[in-house]
């Protein structure tokens, strides 16, 4: 658990080793030379570099020694797997074919449902800026349709190189079950077979895409690389992106009204389109928005909604590119006026619509939905929450109610890493979007070439957990490099993107032009496929989530928290928005998601997960049936027509699972969920409690159930001023901490069990390292409610421990009134392994 590209224990895609021996005669010496080709497999969510020798890398052993390709997927999903060919000689030619896959009762997945791609590689020479785990070398990226690789003579492999063959299975119209078939590879006229097994889970990826996206496609690069900047080519790309469940920022390049409306009518009904951009309203200077045009379009679009009896506003948004990243582009002064301008246009339009209600022959439902769409229109501002941009801090004098606006914040996804920051965006925005570009870098998810591929997929999982509705990305087809004079040049070979003028490798480029291979449209990349796969995962999460919420509602769970139910799905993969998990963790989480989705279909949900010092208590609500653990019905209480089962999983082993079976009539459904590793308490008697006496005094009282710490009132600085953060502090230290919380000890989380003996406070847990020269780092921030006992969970798996061991754990407590005494009890300090 908690590894990034780490050792594999159990992999859904098992793998195979096929060694083929070819005897050939050397014409000059008549010697017999043994040539061999190693075939192995890997899941879609790892990158196998062309020039890395994986034979001795233990982290890859299970894949490197694999004997077959297994793909597990939901219904109506596209999911891939890789066959890697590693010859010990120069291969002149290889071809691939796939058989039909057969299941039970004559069911099959036709071979046409399997698309084969040849992987192309980018020579990444320099690590992306600020990356800490960059892997440079020949990185797989473009996925060239295999027949094109053959047509253009690219089905060759250099000696000892790894050549990835990517197979994508489409389970559209395929029933749940297991299907088997064969992949046939002919390498220099020698035929090899790799068994292919596809497991289709009994849950469906929605046809409709719900996670919004705004990915910018630039025409200039179409001209440069496709040699075609026409609307036709733009549209080809736009529609191809829809196949990847992503929406290009604007569906037309045109400013023409008729063209826009025609496009709106064409694309709105498409299930793969979740996001449609409002018409362009820039004024002639292109440095501001035209107030009249904004007003015109709000009303015009409302009228089109009424005319077509369709609420187009449900998919419309506006990305305010003129004030893009206002903190970086010196457009901060424009933010408030622009939001007010749009607000006035919206409110004026709503008023006019309401005044003329009688003239619109539409239902109240539609009318109100359109008005609501205008009122809550998503205006995206690409920056993190700033109080000085809020309407309440920028009211005109006298106040003009028409100017009232709410910002749709679109910060870096790193802004959601801690709950306190995330809450600001949630509470103060209409909807939540996020974006990434050169920054942030790992351990946050990136689309960078030298990062792992899994994080690109996990971004959608994070979006679902954090209730983020949209993902913005600044460019899909960037391809410029700088010459020695710093002048922008078009790359000569659009597949050689080694020197793009970005701080991070591959940034802004997710697709390659098809023209060099006679393809109309783009050639996808491994990264684009990972993003698409994440979008599909999101749909399953959403499907299962909606089901769970409905079951909880029907069962009367007033405080049901879906994120608690799904916590074990996310736990091994990431913390906040920092990636902590690797491919094997992901395999397990996908498997668990399939189980949760099936359980939800059967009216069963995990209704609560409670972290206890040495165990975890899982509550399972079953609306119909019986839950058995070790063959016996678990303890339960009756809840309406259903039962709530309570299962405590002791965490005294290296890995601890909830294993249970749901029985409904003659059917039974097995469920297995990783709870976590072992939990061990640190001896509180050996922990030293201190504070910075200049800030506040503390006193301690040790009892059998913990240490009560009383903090004196916050002091003023020597010069009489206040401390900047105005928090009371408790510092924990001692050998017991530094001997345990360090690299190699395998601590994935620290849990501080705190009993709050008074009013609520915001807790910030910081730490210093034995090698960090006085630097203070923040672990986590969260709210501790009044008079409750809470377990503060600190994920450590993301740490590189380059600060040495943890020297001090510092608790900063922010009460409403810090200038009086407060007390908490630290009941236990537990390390989870």
């Amino acid at each position: 658990m908690g590894k990034l590209l780490s050792r594999v224990r159990a992999c859904t895609l098992s793998a195979v080793l096929l060694t083929a021996t070819v005897l050939s005669a050397c014409s000059s010496k008549e010697e017999t030379v043994e040539k061999s080709v190693k075939l192995w497999t890997a899941p879609s969510y790892i990158k196998i570099y062309q020039d890395i020798d994986y034979s001795k890398d233990e982290a890859y052993t299970d894949w490197y020694e694999s004997t077959e390709l297994n793909v597990s997927m939901f219904m109506n999903e596209k999911e891939g797997g890789q066959v890697i060919v590693t010859p010990d000689y120069d291969v002149d030619k290889y071809t691939v074919s796939v058989s039909d896959l057969t299941g039970k009762d004559g069911q099959k997945i036709a071979k046409e449902n399997v698309t084969v791609y040849n992987q192309k590689y980018v020579d990444v020479l320099v690590p992306s800026k600020a990356h800490t785990n960059s892997i440079i070398g020949m990185v797989p990226d473009a996925l060239l349709p295999f027949e094109k690789a053959v047509e253009y003579g690219e089905n060759k492999i250099g000696k000892n190189n790894n050549q990835g063959i990517y197979l994508e299975v489409d389970s559209k119209d395929v029933s749940a079950g297991e299907y088997t078939g064969n992949i046939q590879l002919t390498v220099d006229n020698k035929t090899h077979n790799v068994p292919l097994t596809v497991t289709v889970w009994d849950a469906t990826v929605s046809e409709e895409t719900h996670l919004k996206s705004s990915f910018l496609l630039r025409n200039q690069e179409l001209l440069e690389n496709e040699k075609d900047g026409t609307d036709e080519m733009y549209t080809t790309y736009y529609e191809q992106f829809v196949d990847y469940r992503l929406n290009i920022t604007k569906f037309t390049q045109s400013f023409d009204e008729e063209t826009y409306i025609e496009g709106l009518r064409k694309y709105y009904p498409e299930p793969g389109i979740s996001t449609l951009h409002f018409p362009r309203c820039e004024d002639a200077s292109r440095t501001n928005y035209d107030e009249n045009l904004v007003k015109y379009w709000f009303k015009r679009l409302a009228e089109i909604c009424f005319e077509d009896e369709t609420n187009y506003y449900s998919k419309l948004y506006y990305y305010l590119a003129i004030i893009d990243e206002p903190h970086l582009t010196k457009t901060e002064d424009k933010v408030v006026p622009i939001f007010k301008k749009f607000a006035v246009a919206r409110h004026t339009t709503i008023r006019e619509l309401q005044e003329n209600r009688a003239s619109y022959d539409v239902s109240d439902e539609l009318f109100n939905a359109v008005v609501d769409g205008i009122e809550n229109f998503q205006l995206l501002l690409t920056c993190a929450y700033r109080a000085d941009f809020l309407y309440e801090n920028n009211k005109s004098t006298p106040e003009n109610p028409d100017e009232e606006y709410v910002i749709t914040w679109c910060p870096y996804m790193s802004a959601y890493n801690n709950e306190i920051d995330a809450e600001k965006h949630r509470n103060e925005g209409i909807a939540e979007w996020w974006y990434s570009c050169n920054y942030p870098v790992n351990p946050y998810p990136t689309y960078h070439l030298d990062d792992a591929i899994l994080p690109a997929r996990l971004l959608s999982w994070m979006a679902y957990e954090h209730n983020v509705v949209g993902n913005l990305y600044w460019r899909v087809n960037y391809s410029s490099e700088e010459n020695a004079f710093g002048v922008r040049e078009t790359v000569e070979d659009p597949y050689d993107i080694t020197n793009l003028t970005q701080e991070t490798n591959g940034e802004g480029l997710l697709v390659y032009p098809g023209k060099p291979y006679g393809i109309k449209g783009f050639v996808p990349s491994l990264r684009l496929v990972a993003i698409r796969d994440g979008m599909e995962d999101y749909e399953v999460l959403r499907y299962a989530g909606e089901k769970c919420k409905q079951i909880a509602k029907d069962a009367g769970y007033a405080d049901f928290d879906l994120n608690t139910t799904f916590s074990k799905l996310y736990q091994a993969l990431y913390s906040g928005t920092k990636v902590t998990g690797g491919p094997d963790d992901f395999t397990e989480s996908r498997e668990l998601l399939s189980k949760i989705a099936v359980f939800a279909d059967k009216g069963t949900i995990i209704s609560d997960v409670q972290n206890k010092p040495y165990s975890t208590i899982v509550k399972v609500y079953v609306s119909n049936g019986t839950l058995k653990v070790n063959g016996k019905e678990a303890n339960f209480t009756v809840n309406g027509s259903g039962k709530e089962y309570t299962v405590e999983i002791k965490q005294d082993k290296e890995t601890n699972y909830l294993k249970c079976t749901l029985e409904q009539g003659s059917e039974s459904f097995d469920f297995e969920m990783l709870i976590g590793g072992e939990k061990k308490a640190l001896d509180l008697a050996k922990v030293s409690f201190k504070s910075n006496n200049k800030v506040n005094e503390i006193s301690t009282s040790k009892g059998s159930d913990g240490v009560t710490v009383t903090m004196g009132a916050l002091k003023l600085k020597e010069d009489g001023s206040k401390w900047e953060d105005e928090t009371q502090r408790i510092y924990l230290s001692g050998d017991v901490l530094s001997d345990t919380l360090k690299k190699g000890k395998g601590v994935t989380a620290i849990m501080i069990e705190i009993e709050n003996l008074g009013e609520a406070f915001d807790l910030s847990v910081k730490y210093t390292g034995t090698r960090s020269s006085g630097d203070v780092f923040t672990f986590t921030e969260q709210r501790i409610e009044a008079n409750t006992t809470a377990i503060v969970m600190i994920e450590t798996s993301v740490l590189t421990w380059d600060f040495g061991a943890v020297e001090q754990l510092r608790l900063h407590l922010k009460y409403d009134d810090v200038y009086q005494e407060h007390a908490i009890k630290i009941k236990s300090l537990i390390c989870a392994f």
């Binding site: 001209l223 440069e224 075609d228 900047g229 010459n483 002048v487 000569e492 070979d493 023209k515």
Partner: protein, 400 residues
């Protein structure tokens, strides 16, 4: 006038070289002719016979597309041509650039000290005339002035004589990156076929160009080579297409003395508030003793404006790689009359101070490296012609 400053720019390159060493690409065709000691080699740069060759051309701006034509009617040699479809998109021209260096095909013709001319064949498949401008683009992003061609229906030959000596005064022509063809859209979309772009390579050495300036002269425009001491710029390559004409004139009504420099420019796009700039070339600028300038001095020049009222701006280039700008004539320039512009170095110093360009103890003369004159904004559609003359330094002029 007394000559007291003489500088020579030696622009000659090696007298003898082997032309074939320029290119290792076996696909390129070569023809040689010998004329005395000079060998002219015709090097076919692109016959557009394959997609790879097509990829040596880059499209930018504008609205349209390019594809490989295999219809024999529209190519001359090889087995294809570049079919370029140009449609109107708010008047933005289509830029078609041919690479002069290729890693993929392994050629390098960037050294234009050895290039005598550039030729291309273009088939105009429409019934209307098509306007195309040609320029060289250099690796530092600078561009030569454009030469305009009018393409008639059918095949047209585009021939551009490389005036190496003149170009070398403005640019480092040994680092020429692209041949840039700018196609102006017509009301009706049209197709042209570009084929057989070739270079004539010569073994003859470039002639020395001796440039001289008088005491305190910046540029009098009385010597023919002074036609090239200012280069013209605007916000994009494409807008450069609208430089209709420039050169030296001896028209007595339009000179202050000897000859004057004239520039005719068309309007920019209104929403851009476009400005044009003429910049003193760095090589020429090196001859001027900027360092001796003090706050008491003045840079002066004459300008005659044939067009409507226009703002004029003056800026200096500093050794910090920045420009420091001052407005002239209260931001306006009278039409149809000569006006003398005087730029006080003290004003430039104040602007440099404000822009934090001057370090402590640095004098204004220490940081100057060149001058630029700009005019605009072009918010109307009028064509404008300006005449410039007698750029000079007036020592102590600020006290007068």
């Amino acid at each position: 006038m007394k000559k007291n400053l003489l500088k020579m720019l030696t622009l000659a390159c090696a007298a003898v070289f082997v032309t074939t060493s320029l290119c290792s690409c076996s696909k390129q065709e070569e023809k040689q002719e010998e004329s005395g000691a000079r060998i002219i080699t015709t090097q076919l740069l692109n016959s557009f016979s394959s997609e790879k060759e097509l990829y040596q051309a880059i499209l930018s701006n504008g609205y349209g597309k390019m594809s490989l034509n295999k219809d024999k009617e529209y190519y001359t040699t090889g087995s294809g041509s570049a079919a370029l479809w140009v449609a109107d998109n708010n008047g933005t021209p289509m830029l078609f650039r041919q690479r002069l260096e290729s890693d993929v095909l392994g050629y390098d013709y960037t050294d234009f000290t050895k290039v005598k001319d550039v030729r291309a064949s273009v088939y105009n498949a429409s019934e209307e005339e098509v306007q195309v401008m040609f320029a060289l683009e250099f690796s530092d992003g600078s561009k030569s002035s454009m030469k305009k061609y009018t393409l008639q229906s059918g095949w047209n030959s585009l021939h551009y004589d490389v005036d190496r000596e003149m170009l070398s005064m403005q640019f480092d022509i040994s680092k020429t990156m692209y041949l840039a063809y700018t196609f102006t859209p017509n009301e009706t979309p049209y197709t042209v076929y570009v084929d057989d772009i070739s270079l004539s390579l010569t073994t003859s050495a470039m002639q020395e160009v001796v440039q001289t300036i008088e005491k305190d002269e910046i540029c009098s425009f009385d010597k023919n080579y002074q036609m090239s001491v200012f280069s013209l710029h605007c916000y994009s390559t494409i807008r450069m297409a609208y430089f209709a004409d420039f050169g030296l004139t001896a028209n007595p009504d339009r000179v202050k003395s000897g000859k004057a420099f004239y520039v005719t420019t068309k309007a920019g796009m209104e929403e851009k508030g476009n400005w044009y700039w003429m910049k003193l070339n760095s090589k020429y600028s090196e001859m001027i003793d900027w360092k001796s300038l003090t706050e008491d001095d003045v840079i002066s020049f004459w300008v005659y404006n044939e067009g409507p009222l226009t703002s004029l701006a003056f800026s200096v280039l500093t050794n910090k790689g920045k420009t420091v700008q001052v407005a002239l004539n209260n931001g306006k320039m009278k039409a149809n009359s000569w006006a003398e512009m005087k730029v006080k170095l003290s004003d430039i110093k104040a602007a440099a101070d404000a822009a934090k360009q001057l370090e402590k103890d640095e004098k204004i003369g220490d940081i100057l490296t060149g001058i630029n004159v700009g005019w605009g904004p072009f918010d109307d559609v009028a064509q404008k012609t300006f005449y410039f003359d007698e750029f000079k330094i007036e020592r102590g002029g600020a006290k007068a």
